[in-house]
Assembly symmetry: C2
Homo-oligomer: 153 residues x 2
DNA sequence: TTAAAATAAATTGCACACAATTTAATTATG
DNA sequence: CATAATTAAATTGTGTGCAATTTATTTTAA
C-alpha cells in the first residue's frame, strides 16, 4: 500500500527515521562482532551463511536477492568464506553464467556453533517482545514495498 | 528498562530484526543517494551537516556522539566536507586536543538546498504516518538503551 | 542462424565503518 | 613538580557497500 499523501510531516519524520535505522542497525551489528569473530565470521559473512543454511546451495544472484547485496559486494565476501573453507564455488553446467555457492561439511557444521550467536543480544534489547514483533513487521512491510517499487520501476 | 527474560524467543526474533534493520537502513539510504549527490553530499556527510545545522559548531567528539561514529570515520569525512568548502577545522585554544568544526557561509547556505532532501522519500514510504512514529520511537528507545548500556559498562 | 540484446559474475574505484594504534595535549597523582 | 594516566584526533589496516564497467555466456530477433 503506497503512501501518496501530500502531507510533508511524514517525509520530515521519515528523514529522522532513516537516521535511527542507520544508527540502530550499526549499534546492533556491533553487538554481534565479538561473538561472530570467535566462530570466524563477519556480520556480512554471517547473513550469507544463514541464507545458505536456511535455503540450501544457491547462486550469487539468489543470495543477493535474499540479503540485499549485489555481486560487487558478494563476490569478495564469498571468496573469503571459500578461503575459510565454509563454502565452495562452482559454475553451473547448464548455464555457465551462474556460480553456485555450495556449503562444505565445515560450513554445515558451523551452523550449530552459530546457533548461540543470537545470545549476544541477551541484555542488549531494550524493547519488549511485542515491541520487537511490531518493529520487525513494520520494517519488513516497508522493505517489501521498496523492493517491489524498484522491481516495477 | 532492560529486558532480562530467559525466554529465548526474543533473541531469535531479535536476530531477525537485526537483519531487517540492516537491510532497511541500506535500502532507505540508497533512496537518498542521487538527490544528495546533486547537492554534493554523501549520506554520512549529510548527517554530519544536519548535526552542525541543528546544534551549531562543535568538536569531532561531540559530532561523533550525535551520529554514532568515531574519529576513525569522521576525520576523513570532515576533511572532505572541508575540501568542499562547507566547514572549517580549527583547534580550540583552551584545549588543543579538540578540533572544532565550524560551518562556513557555503555550509550554512547548503541548509536551504538540503531542505528538499526528505522529498526523496515521497512515494518510497510504505507504512503509515502513525506506523513511522511507532517504529521511530521504538528504535530510539532501543538505541538509547544500548548507548547507556555501553556508557555504564 | 547469427548478430544484437540481455544476463550473471567479476572487476574497478570511491566512500565509509571500525578496531587498534599512534600522536599530542591535558589532568591526576605521588 | 614531575611523571603517569587520560583524553581527543589522526592514522593504519581490514572489510564492506555500491555504482559503473567489463567479461563470459545465453537468449532473442531480424
Amino acid at each position: 500500500m503506497k503512501n501518496t499523501t501530500n502531507d510533508n510531516a511524514i517525509l520530515t519524520l521519515g528523514n529522522e527515521l532513516c537516521f535511527s535505522l542507520y544508527a540502530c542497525a550499526k549499534e546492533v551489528i556491533k553487538i554481534y562482532r565479538k561473538p561472530l569473530e570467535k566462530i570466524g565470521l563477519t556480520y556480512t559473512q554471517y547473513i550469507v551463511m544463514m541464507t545458505l543454511w536456511q535455503f540450501g546451495d544457491m547462486s550469487v544472484k539468489d543470495i543477493g536477492e535474499k540479503v540485499y547485496l549485489d555481486s560487487g559486494t558478494l563476490t569478495p565476501v564469498i571468496k573469503k568464506l571459500e578461503k575459510s573453507g565454509f563454502v565452495k564455488r562452482q559454475r553451473i553446467a547448464e548455464d555457465e553464467r551462474f556460480v553456485k555457492i555450495i556449503l562444505t561439511d565445515k560450513g554445515l557444521k558451523l551452523k550449530e556453533k552459530a546457533s548461540t550467536i543470537p545470545q549476544a543480544l541477551e541484555g542488549n534489547i531494550y524493547i519488549s517482545y511485542d515491541e520487537v514483533v511490531t518493529v520487525y513487521n513494520l520494517l519488513n512491510k516497508n522493505l517489501k514495498g521498496i523492493k517491489e517499487g524498484i522491481e516495477t520501476s
